[in-house]
Amino acid sequence: MKIGMRRLIALCVSLAGATAASACDAPVPGNLCAAPAVQARQTRMPGEYLVTLAARGGVEAIVELYGRFGIKGIQDLGHNVFLVSLTEDPGPAGMEQLRGDNARIQAVQPNYVYGTREPARLPHAR
């Protein structure tokens, strides 16, 4: 990533952090401030989302849209995909609902978890 982009992201993260405290003060469609669902087996990283920007979207679009949840970090993964870590987790449905028809953000999805899950750790183990 170029230095300029790093600076921009750092600035965005700072700004987002400043707004995070008030992220849940106002009512938001879809109850976006609900606590993250507790799952028996973790299938996604809590508070982490992969945001694909549209061709004309800039990283500031991520901050504008999701900064209310407190952005801990944004990592450029290439191909216009960014890993966004949030302080508060609105859940996948909340993230998608907020994206709506935002032309600058092409897609958002959870950062899913994959594992080796060796047989020895399962009930069917030897």
Binding site: R41, T43, R44, M45, E48, L50, T52, Q75, L77, G78, H79, V81, L83, A107, Q109, P110, N111, Y112, V113, Y114, G115, T116, R117, E118, P119, A120, L122, H124, A125, R126
Partner: protein, 445 residues
């Protein structure tokens, strides 16, 4: 207006077209070590007569070495300095010739001299027990194996194909792996990349990826340890699993793109996620497909039906045609108790219990080996086979490779109705499988 050609001419046309795709045509691009240099075998048409045959050879500067027992066949010495490929091409339009092919070399099945080879039931099941294996049964049925020794009679060196192990990293200094690691040049001097720590050192702190790498391509016939499916290989290490054995979409898609960008044509991913469709992961597998890479994945160790409602597990459940999902078999070729299955999502089975391979981990040494179980261990057997097939047939696309693995397998009752093919992989049969011709056009006027 359509005019029918005489049936003989049409047959000749079809035969000539088929010849383009038959083993004869494939041979000239195969490594020259697979056939005798300076010789071809020619089958002359019955009507050609002795004079016609001699004329056909003389005009090309060829001479008969021997007449074979088969009617019409001759062993022919080609002109000095002429390659086998050129000689075969010269006969293609000869009206006296029905068929021409290289004089292939067949070698005795090669049994490597690796000291623990006798423990590798997946390659040669004699009913032996695996010394450090703990899965029961730990002794099986002779012949229930990948049938790889005959394949080694044809090819042991897969190093023309880069195979990526996207996993917990690889102990690239291991005595049985170091010589078979991918050369990433000065940019990737440690044979790959680590997307967990974001550096260029994909050393394996766990052992899982090192085990997978050994199954694919531990150095064979070096008098040490074990051998992989490929005795010589180019293994690219891509670390995406963290110290707890977990990866995320973010690390996986970066790892896959790294592998494909740097030339991997076979990718192994021995991990499983939950039941949610992952669009970015799916897109990246499609990108691999566009780059002609085969992707081999594990079915999972949850002993459930991946096709059942709520049972989907990814990446196994993705439907791209370059994807192969693998279940685990035990030493009697029963489905391993832990192995998941799926009549529409899991494609083949492969040995996955008491699998001895190279190891790493906290007690890091370069001489460690370990026998473990899992569909994680079944998938790399198939990835190794895919690598072998592509090395043996450089013109193979991902379609040819996947076809040869699926259709060349051996039917196993335990996999019937539990996989798309009902088959366990069979190295020799896949190597001998002839893909149907593609792009063939016959015009009837």
């Amino acid at each position: 207006m359509k005019t029918l050609l005489p049936s003989m001419a049409l047959a000749t046309l079809v035969a000539a077209a088929l010849t383009l795709y038959a083993p004869v045509a494939a041979a000239p691009v195969a490594p020259a070590s697979q056939y005798v240099p300076g010789e071809v075998l020619v089958k002359f048409k019955p009507a050609s007569g002795m004079q016609g045959r001699m004329a056909s050879m003389a005009v090309r500067g060829h001479a008969v070495l021997a007449s074979l027992d088969q009617p019409g066949w001759a062993q022919v010495k080609v002109a000095a300095g002429q390659t086998v490929a050129t000689a075969l091409a010269a006969y293609q339009d000869d009206p006296n010739v029905e068929y021409a092919q290289p004089n292939y070399i067949y070698r005795a099945a090669a049994v490597p001299d690796d000291t623990q080879y006798g423990q590798l039931w997946a390659f040669k099941n004699t009913g032996q027990a695996v010394g450090t294996g703990t899965y029961a049964p730990n002794a099986g049925t002779a012949g229930d194996d990948m049938n790889i020794e005959p394949a080694w009679g044809h090819i042991t060196d897969c190093s023309s194909i880069v195979v990526a192990v996207i996993d917990s990293g690889v102990n690239y200094t291991h005595e049985d792996l170091a010589a078979n690691m991918w050369n990433g040049g000065s940019g990737f001097a440690k044979h790959g990349h680590d997307f967990v720590d974001n550096d260029d050192d994909p050393m394996d702190p766990d052992g899982h990826g090192t085990h997978v790498a050994g199954i694919i391509g531990a150095v064979g016939n070096n008098g040490t340890g074990i051998t992989g499916v490929c005795q010589e290989a180019r293994i690219m290490a891509v670390r995406v699993l963290d110290a707890t054995g977990n990866a995320t979409t973010a690390t996986v898609i970066q790892g896959m793109r790294f592998a494909v960008t740097n030339g991997a044509r076979v990718i192994n991913m021995s991990f499983v996620g939950g039941g949610s469709f992952d669009p970015l992961f799916s897109d990246t597998i499609t990108e691999a497909q566009i780059s002609d890479a085969v992707v081999v994945v594990a079915a999972g160790n949850e002993a459930h039906d991946s096709d059942a409602a709520g049972g989907a597990r990814y990446p196994c459940k993705f439907t791209q045609p370059n994807l192969l999902c693998v279940a685990a078999l035990d030493q009697n070729y029963a489905l391993a108790r832990f192995s998941s299955w799926g009549a529409t999502s899991v494609h083949v089975g492969a040995p996955g219990t008491n699998i001895l391979s190279t190891w790493a981990g906290a007690e890091m040494t370069n001489t460690a080996y370990n026998a473990v179980d899992g569909t994680s261990m079944a998938a790399p057997g198939v990835a190794g086979l895919a690598t072998m097939l592509r090395a043996f047939n450089p013109q193979y696309t991902f379609v040819d490779t996947v076809n040869a693995i699926k259709h060349g397998g051996r039917s196993v009752p335990a996999l019937a109705g539990r996989t798309t093919t009902g088959k366990a992989v069979d190295a020799m049969s896949s190597l001998a499988y002839i893909n149907p011709p593609r792009g063939l056009t016959v015009t009837v006027r």
